[in-house]
Every structure is written in C-alpha cells, then in structure tokens.
Symmetry: C2
C-alpha cells in the first residue's frame, strides 16, 4: 500500500497557492526555487495574475486543468482555511502550509488550526505545517524552503533524513551540511504539526530506500501523541536507526520551549525514558546528532562493543581510551598472535596493546599493517583510526592505502580522527570522507559515533 | 629578577648541536626553520662539517667565539650527556634536548636522564626535554619544532600559551590553530620534563605580557611534584587563567598513559580535586580547551554568572538555555524596562524574556537594539549572541553593526554562535573573530566558554 505521505516527496506536479512575481517575496522565492529543480509541472495560483514569469497562473487550485498532487500554501493565515478547502475539493493529496498565524500565536490561531483539521477530515488530503518550511528532497527536487542558495546552500545527496520542529534550525542544519559535504536525503520542517507529525514521517521514511538514518529535532510532542510516537519508533528502530535531539531538558529550557513553539516540553525524564523504551538514540547537540548520523548512514552494523584504536599520537590514544571507556565501550587487549605479527612490522617502541600506537616514527605501511590485523581479528568489532599527519615520514598516499585495505577486509564499522589543518591533513579528511569513512576532529566525537552504532546494534537485537 | 626560563624564549643566539646539511634530517629541519625566522645568530655544531649552507659550523659548542644563550640538542641519546656537559662548561643558560632515548624507554634511559640532572646541578643551566619538540614563540621566532610548514602550519600571533606533555598532540594543536586562525603566543613541548616542568613554565608565563591564558595538556605529574604544581597554580590563577586537559581519567586510560609517556596518571579523582584546589579550569577535550582559551584570551572578566541570550532561532535559544542551566549559569528574566523598550523596537511576536528571540523576521537593527539593551542592563554579566544567517532580511552589514555597538558598550564578555555554511554565515564568523569575538558552532560550546569565564572570575575572588 502506498503511503499517503509519498505525494509530498514524489508529486507529479505542484501548485503554489500565493505565487507572485514580486522578487524577494515568499511566494516568488518558492516559485523560483521549484522551477529551477523540480521536473514536473508547476502551477502558480493567484487571482491577481494571468501569468507569472511566462507560466500560466490560475485564480484557484480548482481551475488547474489537470489533477494536482501537491499544493504549497503561502497566503495570509485568515485565507488559509478557504484555500485548503479548495485543495480538498480538487482532490489534492498533499498540502504544505508555510503560512504562520496558527496555534503558535495563541487561542485565535489555535482555533484556525483546528478548522484545518476539520476541513481535511475523511478527505484523503494530508497537511504538513502550518508555520513551517515544508519539504526538501535531494532526489526529486521538491524544495519548498523559501531560502535562496546564498543564505541556505543545498547539501549533496545522501542518506540522512532530517525531521525538525524548528524551521530555522533545520535551515541552518542544511546550510551547515552543505558546507561540510554531509549528504542529506530529505529534510522536513513540520512546524505546528497540525496533521503530519514525527511518527507519520518515521513510518514513511523507514520504507524509503534513499534513507538510512532518521534524525529528529524535537521540542515537544503534541498532547496525546506520546504513546503513538513510542509505538511507531519501537517498530521503526528495528529497521533503521532513529536519532532524536530533544531540546527543553532543564526547567528554564522547558520554559523557553513554551515561548518558542508553544509545545509542552514536559518533564525531560519522561521523554528520556520513552526514547530508551522506543530504541531511539539521543543526541546531546546538533553536532552530536550529525556525528552519529554520519556514521550510521555509512557504516555496517557492528557485532558488539569491542573497539580497536590505532593511533600515531599517544596522547590522542589516551583521550580515545578515556572517551570509549566512559561510554561503556570495550578496548580488549590486542591478541597475542596479532601482537606477534605487529612486533615484526612496526617500529620496536610501538605500543602493541590497545590503543596500538604506531608512534611519530610511523610510515604509511605501519598503518596499513595495523588496520589489516585489526580488521581480520575476531577480537574487535569496530575500529577508530587516529591520523595525526605531522610525522615526517607519512605521505599523501596514506589515505589511498587505507581505503584499499578497508575495501579488502571491510565488514566492521570504521571511523577516523584527524586533528590539524595543513595540506596533508585536509587531503586525508577529504579522501576518507569521499570513500565513506566519517572523520572527526577529536576522539571524543568519534567515540560517540561508535557508541551510537554499538547501541543501535543492541537495540535491533533487543527489539526483535 | 629575570626568570631562568626567559632565555628559552628570548635568546640572543642559538646553537644547534647536531646540525646537518642532510635534507629531511631533524638537525637540518630545525636549522632551516630557525634560519628562516630567528633574528639572532645561529651556530650549527657538528664536528663533521666546517660550514652548513654557508654558515660556519663548530666542532663543539665550546668552540663558538661568543657567549651562547641557548642550545638545541638533536644528537643520539648516548652522546647527549657529553654535549650537555659542554653546554654547562660554556655557560649556556637554556638547553632544549629534542633527542629521545631517555626515561621513556626504560631503566637504561632513566639512568641517562638522571645523569643530565647531575650535570646541570648548581650550574644555572636549565633543560627542556628530553624527548620533546621544545619551544615555539610566535613573537621572537624561536622555533625548535622539527616539522616543516606543509605538515605543521604556524598559527597567527595571539595570547594563548600551550604547554604539552605530548609533542605529537601539541604539533597537531598548532596545525589546527593555524587553520582556524586561533592566535598562539607560545607553545612548549616539555617531553620527559627532566628539569623544567609545568609549574616552572606557569611561573614564567604569568609574567609574560604576550600571554593571557595558559593551556596545559597533562598526562601525569612527575612523582613528588604534585604539591609544587598545586602551590604554583594557586598563585598563578590569581593573575591569569590556567586550563588543564588531563588525559588518563579512566582505568584503561591510565594504562594507556603508562605505555605512552610512562607517567603515573594516578587516580583521576586526586588530580581533579587538586585542580579545583588550585583554581585550575579543567577542559573535557582538546576542542573544549581551545573553546575556553579563545574566550579567556579575548574577553573581559565577568562580574557574575548572569547570561543574556539573543537569538533569531528559537530552537538554538532553547538549546543554549539547557546548556547554560546545566552548567550552573543563570538566565535572569529580562527586566521590565528593557522589555518595554524592546517591545517597541522588535517584531510584535518576538520573545522578550531570556532568551530574547528576535525571530526569523529579524532585520539587522533588531540585533543592534537587543545587544545595546543587554549590554547596558545591570541584569546581565555576559552575552551569548546566536546568529543564524538564513532569515531573508538579514544583510551582510550585520557583523559591522554588531561590532560597532559592542565597541560602544563593551565591558562584558560576549561570545557568538553561528551554525551554517553559506556566504553570509562565513562572513559573519570571520568579521566577529577578527574583532575579538569568539564564534562557536553550537550553543553548548559557547556555554562552556561562558562557564569558564564565570568560574575564573570566582576563582580570582576566592583565591585572594
């Protein structure tokens, strides 16, 4: 059965209700952005114009001569119910309401929002919003985000789906991902979530083959939807990892949520235990969210919690050890046979325990040998490779050599750490990232990514 | 009285014992680096050569025709005691021993290291190292780090001093700082610290007018020097902030320290309480160390813990609130009179409590007005400004306007947050940083920086 949400991501055509030729206005930016990348027909709707930029404009969506799959609404709040009614009459399946002036402004707006739900009742029409940025789909070109490229760059195609209660934050996230080269599949700004909410989107995204990990920014669930969220998430997390960044954890934070989205952030402890119950991974910041998502989107699922650390900087190795152990991950001692083989191939003063410290006298081949050994050994489920590129004998060929050995033996998650900034470091980061190895600045962040993968692996087994 | 360590940073001349014309060798890299930037005389010392690259070379340091202030030693370990003896005989005041092969390799090396101390006893000669990278001074051009620019870029001049037990980590830190534009005054890699240790350097750096904050990477203090560290730090932190990143906190981490620097990391709790007693600020990662150091190096000392948050993204405001409250900082409600003035100047749906949310409808002037009000108000000791640059009406003139208002009213610490990546965001970050406002990617990191400043302000008062 096709999901009722599919139309938001793969519409055959899109009507823009409130389209306008006036540059800089929302109804124009959305029109321009969509025209530049969406392949299907676009229908500007506005009774004031006959044509916009040479494209036929209709007084209402009902006047469009073919069936309309999706509509984006950018008219003032008081007119929204009327145009939503038009959409229902026309049989439009997906309506994104960008306009604000609903429950976020108080009782009057809440009344108006309630009316929307009454209008779509029993109709088969679904609503995203109001008070949102809508849908960004890197694969189909649906992009209702009214922000031009110079303010919000669009990230490369990837496997992460973002669902956000805050439009501003989601926009900043896409802009950041674009700069960092982090691949995004879809982003949905759900605003007041009058109809479509996090649970609905999880149900859709879990079946979406472009998506490998679902990342959610949440301030508060709508009253009465907590049980639904937990039930759906519990089911979804068996198939795909879900990461939630919950804002409003402290007393003051909860108050700030109330004045932002009007959500009831409630007692954070209730959320935290619901997340645990549902197998959801909790992020501690927006960077932490991306750190974990990047690993979950690119790495295989680990068999367990046992990590091998390979480093050329002893200090970084110590910090990695502290971070991993604090998170409950395990650093087993390197097995004897592995040690024996390494002893003959690394410098005599290399540390062979775990971390394996190839030292500042490292040459490229030492890293290759060490990776080969830990990837082959049953003693380790995951690998953290720390590459400080300052040692004088390392060459710019190192990343290619590492990628080669990973391709040969790769069945375990591998993450990398590199701290620095000169040519060799930047080249290594770029090469590894291009080949699907997430690179982090510090071992503490890489450790969080490994933890998320180990945790998710356990979740999947527990939730069977 | 002039410190006996001054000669390491402001020598009139430098002898390089073990200098060589062979490209790529340590004794050549150091010679080339110093020749390129150090203004005083350089004396290569090597019995094998008469001249190196056209510069007169001497068989021993004793043969140099003038007094020698400082010597860098890069000869093999077994010869080091002999050349150190030459230095003492010649009256060299500062000796940096780069060579490894001392206490870090076991009993034989420890014996050799002990000999060094016996040789300098009562002589007025001080030793940094052995097994270290030595001294980097951005102001005087002393640079004994045997890493060429393409592996370790040199950061811009600044106010942060780095003291590190790990050479590899310190090198990566300088390389990273160079890329990020973080200003560094000095970096000292102290290796085995046979003579000069963290406490000695704190004593020197506290009197150094180029240094505003001392950042230390520590695995373990030498046995018997704990009391000295605490006493000195307690005295120093009255005048300048000291941040320590302690590695080896967990059981496994402590073990990793033993195989790295051979230090006794000891029970972390003992260190943690010593740091507290000494008024030292503890960092949780190398990024956290820089996050706090950047703020302490550029901002005035706050009067208290009361923070105003100004944001155009409600979600970021909520996360800032959570982070600040978790760290024990205070977000007082915006005073009535301030609210009244803001009400007339911001958009009607702006949130006027704290965070002050100027919303996505923000124009540059709203930020200016909000900053002006919180900088003038006694209700706040510090300010976190969150700038998401996606909102359509913000212009590229915003950073200049913010800097102007800060110059007018600036008596409080101000830190900024910007998450994104397109032109406007990058321009804002660059402009603010150039004008001494540290910018962080996420509010959680900015909150740590504010916490460090508030904590330091209390330390200074407590330690009076």
């Amino acid at each position: 059965m096709k999901s009722s949400l599919e139309v938001f991501f793969k519409p055959r055509n899109i009507a823009i209700i409130g389209a306008t030729p006036t540059k800089g206005k929302l109804g124009n930016v959305i029109f321009e952005v969509l025209r530049g990348k969406f392949k299907g027909n676009i229908y500007p709707i506005n009774p004031k114009y006959q044509k916009i930029d040479g494209i036929e404009c209709y007084p209402t969506v009902k006047d469009v001569p073919e069936d309309v799959d999706m509509a984006v609404i950018v008219v003032p709040a008081p007119i929204v119910p009327e145009v939503v009614k038009h959409c229902v009459d026309k049989g439009v399946k997906g309506v994104i309401i960008i306009s604000s002036g609903f429950s976020e402004i108080g009782p009057e707006g809440a009344e108006r929002e309630k009316k929307l739900i009454e209008i779509i009742k029993g109709s088969g029409t679904r609503i995203i919003g109001p008070n949102c940025l809508g849908v960004y789909d890197a694969y189909t070109g649906v992009d209702t985000w009214f922000l031009p490229e110079d303010r919000m760059a669009r990230p490369p195609k990837g496997y992460i789906a973002i669902v956000s209660q805050s439009g501003a934050l989601a926009a900043a996230m896409l802009d950041w991902a674009a700069r960092m080269g982090v691949g995004i599949a879809k982003a949905i700004s759900i605003g007041n979530k009058a109809d479509v909410d996090e649970a609905d989107l999880m149900e859709y995204l879990v079946e979406d083959s472009d998506v490998r990990v679902i990342a959610i920014y949440l301030e508060g669930l709508r009253p009465g939807t907590g049980q639904k969220f937990v039930e759906v998430a519990r089911r979804i997390t068996k198939k795909k990892p879900v990461i939630v960044l919950k804002a409003g954890k402290t007393k003051k934070g909860t108050k700030a949520v109330a004045s932002h989205t009007g959500s009831l952030a409630g007692a954070y402890q209730i959320y935290a235990s619901a997340f645990k119950q549902a197998g959801v991974i909790e992020a501690s910041s927006v960077l932490d969210l991306f750190d974990m998502a990047r690993a979950l989107a690119t790495q295989p699922i680990p068999k367990g919690r046992k990590v091998a650390v390979i480093t050329d900087g002893g200090g970084m190795g110590v910090m990695a050890t502290d971070a991993l152990e604090s998170l409950g991950l395990i650093l087993p001692e390197t097995p004897k046979d592995v040690k024996n083989r390494l002893r003959n191939k690394l410098v005599p003063f290399a540390a062979l325990g775990n971390p394996i410290d190839v030292t500042g006298s490292v040459i490229d081949e030492h890293y290759v040998v060490a990776f080969e050994e830990v990837l082959k050994s049953d003693a380790f489920d995951m690998v953290m490779g720390i590459f400080l590129m300052q040692p004088p004998l390392l060459t710019e060929k190192l990343p290619d050599k590492i990628i080669e050995v990973l391709k040969k033996y790769r069945t375990k998650p591998v993450v990398a750490v590199s701290f620095g900034g000169s040519k060799l470091t930047l080249k290594l980061i770029k090469k590894l990232e291009e080949n699907g190895i997430p690179v982090y600045e510090i071992p503490e962040r890489a450790a969080r990514a490994l933890w998320a993968m180990a945790y998710y692996s356990e979740i999947r087994e527990l939730n069977e």
